[in-house]
Amino acid sequence: MKRRKLVAVGFVALAALVFAIAAGGVSGANKAKSITIWLQTDAQAANWAPIVAAANAQFQKDTGATANVQYQSWGTHLQKFDATLAGGNTPDVIEMGNTEMTKYMAAGAFQDLTADKGTFDNSSTWLAGLAASGRYNGHLYGVPYYAGSRVVTYRTDLFKKAGIKVPTSLAQFTTDGQALLKKFGKKGFSPVYIAGTDWYFAMSFVFDYGGSIASRVSGKWKGALDTKKSIAGLTAYKNFFNAVSRASKTTDEAHPNPYDVYAQGLAGSIVGPAWYSCCVGKQYTAVTGQFTVPSHVKGQVMPGFLGGSDLAVPVGANKSLGEAWIRAYTSNASEKALEGIGNIPNTTSLFDNSKINERAAARSWFVPTAKNWVNVENENILRNMLAEILTNKLTVKQAAQAASDNIASILNAS
């Protein structure tokens, strides 16, 4: 009996050995004269695609190599990227959201571009807030690509009919909203459509009232949503939401897309990236305008989230070709074209104050630059807090306290 067991064990061991051998020895792919670039699907838009095509052509002219652009979606591109890091077949260039950069830079996922900084157009006048997201420990890992600020997209016809003008303060914006509600308040209509858990907009209130999300105190992160100023901001958000939005208190800004609600005629205005004007529906294109979100301080702009993207060269990628493509795509001409379709260019030298999103970017805020920040987003700490506040599950203070503690423990985790 024992011997029989031994034989069995022997066979299992033999089998295991075979698999161990079979599993080893995976060789890297040869990527000679073609490089792979991961851009987000945003760049597939009809007005954006020609800019990518022009950069590809320039790149081919410069290097003789071809660029293979693959489009990724924001929700899944990091998991896909992780898989390529594990498999050793990373793309040669990847577009990263500015809030996603820190974790990957800290883990050593990108090649150091510091020495070649001067070869990129306008590198001395890069937009400071955006450029900061591509730097870690004094090294350059991400080249700023473009930024976007958040503005109000509104129905000029409805404002006119209700006899209201573009508001210059939050208080005025609130009374304007209520005037719209009174006049056009049919079922499901929101004067200002705000998805309840749109934390990008809610945090703008926090920063407008002088609060913040977290701060670094002697090498450790400390949650700051429970401070008096932050709580004042969150309370203002709650009041504003209750006064002017009839959106779901628990939904997010992608379900549904605010511009879809707008296109259905169910919103007097929406808050979001300036490019929302793209998709307001044919019937409303002529009666759509934009203005910057007014601060609670009259005449000021409310600080908006400065969203944006960087371009990075992952480890194991072809650095010189990757850099060459980034050089072509972030060239002065290319950035100018990106500005032309409503983005904020990566350089202040192209800034134009007549453009609303660039005016809105005058006051902006950014998430804490901690390597674990992305986990705060993954665990939806802020969205959950907002839902709890708006549905009155918890008081503003209780929800802010819990979120603040949670954020500190996530940011300080090893």
């Binding site: 295991a16 779901s248 208190k249 169910l266 992305v374 986990n375 969205r383 959950n384």
Partner: protein
């Protein structure tokens, strides 16, 4: 052999040992035939299950995050992944929530599925065909498509559910209970066809004369089900129940997509979602592996009761 006194001890010794060796080789030869025969199966199972499982176990004892992923080598840290998980209140809350969720889902699936099968036996032929076609259609809807349809139906502003119920703009995703109830409804809806069709097939094994005899003896339909139908169906119901436990305990697609990535947080995690967030979304693969191993053990414990019962029942038969 030891009971025989070894008479010619000096000369016999090599002979005995030779005989033993001959015997041994023959035995090994004979014994290895079945192993050789199952070798292909072992190889397949080893490749598909064994190697990944081995990897998972070793991964669970390592610190393996993004940094280690890029370096292609983990850092051995013993059982500290397990320690940190077992000390995390989120894990225990998630586990409790998932167990309750599983009991509710499996219970509803089995009761409604069996009831539907009993209904199929009673109704007229054309209705049976119509019902079966409906069930098969439900069964054939891919999970992702089903989620999208349910999401539309439960939409707070334009959803047909609020319209039919006249519930105004009721938000079906406002509380954890409500979110998980919608997920439960979706899962049970999608799981009923399999249970119904399998149980219906099982009902064909119930001899009509037994049912007739029982009803002549004055048994009502409940009594007939309890004392005649149920004992015959028992093995099938047990298999279906244990399969349902395994599926529902680790369910991922429906809660992840229906509740939505933007709304998943520690107050509404189920185990499948929890392991995904910890392991993949946060790129902490070592911890994710440890959670998976714990899940495997929990499912094994949950199903052991049923498996034991099944084995016992087979032994009796």
């Amino acid at each position: 052999m030891t009971s025989f006194p070894a008479e010619p001890s000096i000369t016999a010794e090599p002979g005995v040992s030779r005989a033993r060796r001959r015997l041994t080789w023959a035995r090994v030869g004979r014994a290895s035939v079945p192993y050789l025969l199952i070798l292909p199966v072992l190889a397949a199972v080893g490749t598909i299950l064994g190697y990944p499982l081995y990897n998972l176990v070793t991964l669970s004892f390592q610190r393996y995050g993004l940094f280690e992923l890029i370096q292609h080598s983990g850092h051995w840290i013993g059982t500290s992944n397990y320690g940190s998980i077992l000390h995390d209140s989120v894990f225990w809350h998630t586990l409790l929530r998932t167990v309750i969720f599983t009991i509710a889902n499996v219970g509803l699936t089995m009761v409604l599925g069996t009831a539907m099968a009993l209904l199929l036996v009673q109704v007229s032929a054309w209705l049976r065909v119509a019902l079966t076609v409906g069930l098969v259609l439900v069964w054939s809807v891919p999970a992702v498509v089903a989620v999208q349809i349910w999401y539309w139906m439960t939409n707070f502003q334009n959803g047909v559910l609020n319209y039919v119920l006249g519930a105004g703009e009721h938000d079906w995703y406002a509380t954890t209970f409500s979110q998980l109830s919608i997920v439960t409804a979706l899962i049970v809806w999608a799981a009923i066809p399999f249970v119904t069709i399998t149980v219906y097939a099982g009902l064909a094994q119930v001899p009509a004369e037994l049912v007739d005899a029982a009803s002549i003896d004055g048994a009502g339909s409940v009594r007939i089900f309890r004392d005649v139908t149920f004992p015959i169906l028992k093995p099938i119901l047990l298999i279906l129940t244990s399969l349902s436990i395994i599926w529902d305990f680790g369910v991922f697609t429906q809660p992840y997509l229906l509740i939505g990535k933007e709304h998943l947080n520690s107050s509404n995690y189920l185990m499948g979602v929890y392991v995904y967030i910890k392991g993949y979304a946060e790129a902490d693969f070592g911890r994710g592996a440890a959670i998976s191993i714990l899940m495997l053990l929990i499912v094994a414990i949950l199903s052991v009761f049923y498996v034991r019962k099944m084995v016992r029942m087979e032994a009796v038969e």
